[in-house]
Symmetry: C3
Subunit: 107 residues, 3 copies
């Protein structure tokens, strides 16, 4: 048994939660804040059999890995598209800790 603690960006948390349900993975969601820039993020706890750790990590990676998106810089500051070049920004990203579990009980 392992306990996976995964910290993902808030914007990815809803689709990750749907992916957990679709893959029959029981996850508990904690509201968190933090990281260097204090952007909102979400922490999931997933208890899983040793042999399913890779599958769970793959689901997390699939929904929340860091990727580049294009954004129009004027949209950010003015709210209007002034015809400037879009810029690449990095969104998403997941940090996962796999912890050993000595005893697991369901009552």
């Amino acid at each position: 048994m392992k306990l996976i603690i995964a910290i993902v960006q808030k914007e990815d948390s809803n689709k990750l939660q749907r992916a957990f349900v679709k893959n029959n993975i029981r996850a508990t969601k904690l509201s968190t804040t933090g990281g260097f820039l204090s952007q909102g993020n979400t922490t999931f706890m997933v208890g899983t059999a040793d042999e399913s750790v890779d599958k769970v990590l793959k689901v997390i990676k699939g929904e929340s890995k860091a990727r580049e998106e294009y954004m129009n810089p004027n949209m950010v500051t003015t709210g209007f598209d002034m015809g400037s070049q879009p810029v690449k920004i990095t969104v998403g990203g997941a940090t996962c800790f796999v912890l050993p579990v000595e005893e697991f009980k369901r009552f």
Copy 2:
């Protein structure tokens, strides 16, 4: 030293918290949501000596184990008792992870 992470139904969390206090068990409560049906639940973290793990698990089981209750099905949909047969539903339930602690510090 162990760290017990216990996820219980929100409806059991207040009486479990009182039972922790009564048994002199220090618990930290996290607000969580989730599981398959996204019902509200609560996560408790309890740091405990190795020899007290069973005692803590027993307190958790005593206050929050899954059990059957009878509910009138009409009460749910209409708010009125229409004289139908009560149905059994399962409430409560706790999921507990006992994690090894390598170092424990109080400052």
Copy 3:
């Protein structure tokens, strides 16, 4: 790799968070309540290399260790300073668990 879970008093959490940023320590903050007296507290999770555990614990101790402060007892009950002797109270305090991490992934 280790995962440090640190529970501190809410009044120390902002300065601890600033100290984490200053020391380049990535921390995730969870909102928690609890302990014996149900005072507000905050839980931080910090993933760290084995050799940096002591440095992180030192930062936590520096910002949130239990210490005595003087308080005027009348200020508490009446809101006015009635000239009575100040009393010592204990504030702060941190509880830290260092957990082993079997696998660490960033996506």
